[in-house]
């Protein structure tokens, strides 16, 4: 019984890590623009496909590239290009609407998401793609728990990225600028902060982290299809709201909570069918009793 519990905690940590990485993107953009970037799930999908492209290219080189090298190469390539994609989306689709009502930006974001899905579908065709295995999957047996090197890598790398992001936001000038914008956007430009550039960088960082999530997800669940970002995007969005949207540490916490909900619902209830029901009920209850999420601070309306 204890073994089953331990095994499921591991399963939940693996899934929660990916949700947390994607939830960060929602939280960062909301924090700075008070806008929900519904295209973020699809940016994650593009990140997964870009890592696939890099991995296939590096594996196809005439000399036999060592697998850790392929992994790091795919990670950097996809993080860089996805960051570029995030910045481009912001520049072309969101910046022109900066002064427009907030609902216009949300609709635009949904449109960008649909565009990315259908563009990928049109370019690559509807066949699901297989992600080559880069990390060994032979399970280790420890105290009756089975653990694969890949699982360890996902949990550790996700944690590392989150620590780095936390440091970036709390300890650097860029992070300070981000926090300042989220605190009071009208005043910050008066202090000489280049708001547009900080917003671009926020999109770059959020998208790069989603791309890392895409690579890890692709390795763990090696079948990619153009619609893969939709469900995961929704779950990561709930994670960001549960944690307190706009709050980085809240998004990480929310990601792990959602991972546990997804894994433990079929364990505790008779069927997995209740899973979405449980997740959304949780969201509803939380919003009734703590509308700002677990770690969110109450927003005061500035008149």
């Amino acid at each position: 019984m204890l073994q089953v519990l331990g095994q499921n905690v591991l399963n939940a940590l693996q899934l929660g890590s990916v949700y947390a990485l994607i939830a960060l993107g929602y939280a960062m953009v909301y924090g700075i623009l008070t806008m929900i970037n519904f295209a973020h799930g699809d940016i994650f999908m593009v990140g997964a496909y870009l890592s696939l492209a890099a991995a296939v290219f590096l594996l196809g080189l005439p000399f036999k590239a060592p697998l850790p090298f392929v992994f790091v190469g795919a990670l950097l390539f996809s993080m860089f290009l996805t960051a570029l994609l995030g910045v481009t989306v912001e520049r072309l689709a969101y910046r022109p609407l900066r002064q427009a009502p907030r609902v216009s930006a949300v609709i635009t974001a949904l449109g960008v998401g649909l565009f990315l899905e259908n563009f990928t579908l049109a370019m690559l065709g509807p066949q699901p793609r297989h992600f080559p295995g880069l990390i060994p999957m032979q399970p280790w047996n420890i105290f009756g728990l089975t653990l694969t090197p890949l699982q360890v890598l996902i949990i550790l790398l996700a944690a590392l990225l989150m620590v780095l992001l936390d440091l970036l936001i709390r300890r650097t000038l860029l992070g300070m600028a981000m926090r300042a914008i989220s605190y009071n956007r009208p005043i910050v430009p008066l202090m000489g902060v280049p708001v547009d550039r900080v917003i671009s960088l926020t999109f770059a960082v959020g998208s790069a982290i989603a791309a890392a999530g895409g690579l890890l997800y692709g390795l763990a669940y090696p079948v990619l299809d153009p619609y893969m970002g939709i469900r995961i995007g929704w779950w990561a969005f709930i994670a960001a709201v549960v944690g307190g949207i706009g709050n980085i540490r809240g998004a990480m916490l929310g990601g792990y909570i959602l991972g546990f909900v997804e894994i433990f619902t079929p364990v505790l209830l008779p069927a997995s069918t209740y899973r979405d029901f449980v997740a959304f009920s949780l969201l509803l209850l939380l919003l009734v009793f703590k509308p700002t999420g677990l770690l969110g601070r109450p927003m005061f309306e500035r008149v």
């Binding site: 499921n8 699901p128 999957m137 079948v223 469900r231 894994i263 079929p266």
Partner: protein, 381 residues
């Protein structure tokens, strides 16, 4: 100033309406194809479309279908049902109302075929599903037929195979509870496995679109079954097998006809090496007729036809046989002709009809060997 523009609009509309209303004497046989071209199993839709187009091209190249003293060309209308129940119904509706088809081939997945069948039945349009094995597709319908066996039989085949050949005492099932096909066959397997003296120790479900099955598989691992039955589609099975092996489940894994696409091997063949599944035909034991179809198909598309392609070809030929028998492309007459066909020799083998839309035919069991599908056994009904 606005009058000329208004007049031009009316003129254009009149032009279109006159075109639409002018009833010409039909000279072609219009057949619809309702296939899963996009969505989660595009290989199924592609095979269905390819095989239907091959058949239509073959008929048209040989001068068309002769009914009496007149030769009819076959025109195909292919609709994508996006692998969604509501789109499958909408595609059937569109083929009937806009393209005015005589009959429809497809959809293939039961989750799409069941709602489309209802539309066809109500409209009095013949539908032949190549690949939908769930009994509900044709149940209580006059206009709906299929070219494959049903899950009643398939569940029995795999349950007996697991008991007799794999000597399994206990079995676990992991299936998609949101999909008609998966749910249906999972229940039949459970019923027949237990009737044959085995015990189903874990009966776990997930929902379409899931990628992580670790919670359910951890439960299954705890139950330690002799055999794990995965009656799910080719895009999900590789993930399930991989996650099962990674959690340390060593049971034999078996599956059903939804495994039949070569995509299964491409998406994760290594973890499925040695596994068995039931399906409709085997290329290794092709009859002369099947061999000709395989050669033609390969020449046109550069790949071997999978079971969906073969069944679509059979479904199409079944329709053509009925149209020939009826002597005119009339929905009512063709449906009556189709209902009286008692035996049909297709590329997937001999089919016998006993007054229902469901043929009685053999199943084959394939094994995945060296990254290929290899023939293992045939099971007669």
């Amino acid at each position: 100033m606005s009058l000329p523009r208004w007049a031009a609009f009316v003129a254009v509309m009149l032009f279109f309406f006159s075109g639409a209303c002018a009833k010409k004497e039909a000279t072609d046989i219009r057949l619809g194809v309702n296939a899963e071209l996009t969505g989660s199993k595009p290989a199924v839709g592609a095979s269905c479309k390819n095989a239907a187009e091959l058949l239509a091209a073959q008929i048209n190249q040989s001068g068309g279908l002769k009914l009496g003293d007149k030769a009819w060309k076959v025109t195909l209308f292919v609709e994508d049902n996006e692998d969604k129940a509501e789109s499958a119904a909408a595609a059937a509706q569109k083929l009937i109302t806009q393209n005015n088809v005589l009959a429809i081939v497809g959809p293939n997945a039961s989750g799409n075929a069941i709602p489309a069948a209802r539309i066809c039945e109500d409209a009095g349009v013949i539908m032949v599903s190549p690949w939908s094995t769930n009994p509900k597709t044709t149940e209580g319908k006059k206009y709906v037929f299929r070219a494959c066996f049903i899950d009643d039989f398939q569940g029995q085949v795999m349950a007996k195979f697991a008991r007799a050949n794999l000597k399994a005492q206990t079995a676990a099932v992991l299936y998609d509870v949101a999909s008609e096909y998966n749910k249906g066959i999972a229940e039949f397997f459970k019923k027949f496995f237990e009737e044959n003296g085995g015990k189903v120790v874990a009966f776990e479900s997930y929902t379409k679109g899931d990628m992580d099955f670790s919670a359910q598989l951890t439960k299954i691992k705890g139950a330690d079954p002799d055999v794990l039955f995965l009656p799910n589609y080719y895009n999900e099975v590789p993930l399930q097998a991989q996650q099962a092996r990674r959690l340390g489940i060593t049971s034999a894994i078996i599956g059903s006809d939804s495994w039949g696409s070569e995509e299964l091997l491409r998406l994760g063949g290594k973890d499925l090496e040695g596994c068995f599944f039931s399906t409709h035909y085997a290329q290794d034991i092709a009859t002369e007729k099947a061999q000709k179809f395989i050669t033609d198909y390969e020449a046109k598309y550069g790949q071997k036809p999978d079971d969906v392609a073969a069944l679509t070809y059979d479904a199409g030929n079944l329709l053509i046989a009925a149209i020939t028998k009826a002597g005119a492309p009339d929905r009512r007459k063709v449906r009556d002709a189709l209902a009286t066909i008692q035996e049909f020799e297709g590329v997937t083998g001999n089919m016998q009809f006993k007054g229902t839309g469901d043929p009685i035919k053999s199943a084959v069991i394939l094994q995945i060997k060296d990254g290929k599908f290899a023939y293992h056994a045939s099971v007669k009904p």
